[in-house]
Amino acid sequence: MSTGSVVVIFVAVIAGLALLQLMLSRLNSGELSGSDDAFHPDGWEGAGPDYPGDLYNPLVAREPLPAGYRPVLSRDSIRPVYAPKFRRADDIDWSDNELIIGVEIDGDARAYPVGFLNRREIVVDLHRGIPTFVTW
């Protein structure tokens, strides 16, 4: 096999892996898109995901639970979006039928897609200086 065909196969394998990676990242749709042009309208860096390791937890403390309370998952196993980023409406490719939660404060309108929220459930945001908490 010539050096040339080895290079061709090598390039093809690399390209194939990159394509697979792209497909996987698309499938893993619970992630933010991470677009280069994403920004935060308040210039906010986001809230930290960390909390004290010994933080009080009523379940660990074996508090009596109210009727209708069902322990299901551990804390943040469904990870909130602690540092949201946004894009301009023109740069978004959602279907017009995509259901969103819409919030407008002082002329600053923001849309959070319900399908994505259905997976991540929580967005911690700062909206024109007001600390907001968007949940589905």
């Binding site: 933010l32 943040d76 919030v103 399908g115 994505f116």
Partner: protein, 211 residues
């Protein structure tokens, strides 16, 4: 739902507790570890038990309709995922303190706009006829309480000359300024009945108690 994550003017950070209370989600706050109920916006376990977060105005709408009303809107940098939820299956809930009413969106859509009182607060709930977009407004203009009817994309004062854009409450003509936007949230009627057993469901024929 959209809450103001602030207690006595101090911002707090909340995460996902991961448990269910009344089949709805729970949160925990990073400062005290108290557990909060989403639909109640209230801490139900831990040091902050009984503390509530302010509900902020928001809506649930189709992206295309939201953009038509708010062309300058930004969007969360996240993929679109076709949620499978339909506004027509849900109700718009307006809650002030102990008083709340659920307005089934299909009934509101048919009525155009519903003039109601939640507690003693006069509200107008409207859902676009051709768009999935709801809004809740105060019917208080200065010291007057007005009644509204829907005409196309506008809300019109009955017996007066006020006209407002139905999607944003911006005044189109008349006096008194824009309509005040009030908080509401979207819920499935069965969830509403679980969390607001003393609540009411609005029907064209009148209010029906949940129980």
């Amino acid at each position: 739902m959209v809450h103001r994550r602030e207690i006595d003017g101090q911002p707090i950070v909340l995460g996902n507790q991961g448990d269910l209370f009344g089949n709805a989600m729970t949160w925990f706050d990073h400062d005290t570890g108290s557990v909060w109920s989403q639909p109640l916006g209230e801490a139900i376990l831990g040091p902050l038990t009984g503390t509530t977060l302010e509900l902020l105005p928001s809506t649930v709408a189709k992206w295309g309709d939201w953009r038509a009303v708010y062309p300058e809107s930004v969007a969360l940098d996240a993929p679109g995922l076709r949620s499978g939820f339909n506004l027509s299956d849900m109700a718009v809930v307006v809650e002030f303190g102990p008083d709340s009413i659920a307005f089934p969106s299909t009934d509101v859509r048919e009525a155009g706009v519903v003039n109601a009182e939640v507690g003693s607060i006069p509200v107008a709930v409207t859902v676009d006829d051709d768009r999935d977009l709801w809004s809740v407004y105060s019917r208080q203009i200065d010291d007057r309480t007005i009644e509204l009817e829907r005409r196309g994309d506008a809300l019109v004062e009955i017996g007066g000359d006020g006209r407002w854009d139905a999607g944003r409450g911006v005044q189109l003509s008349g006096a008194g300024g824009n309509l005040d936007v009030l908080p509401g949230f979207t819920s499935f009627p069965s969830d509403y009945a679980t969390f607001f057993p003393d609540g009411f469901i609005w029907r064209p024929s009148g209010l029906v108690p949940v129980r």
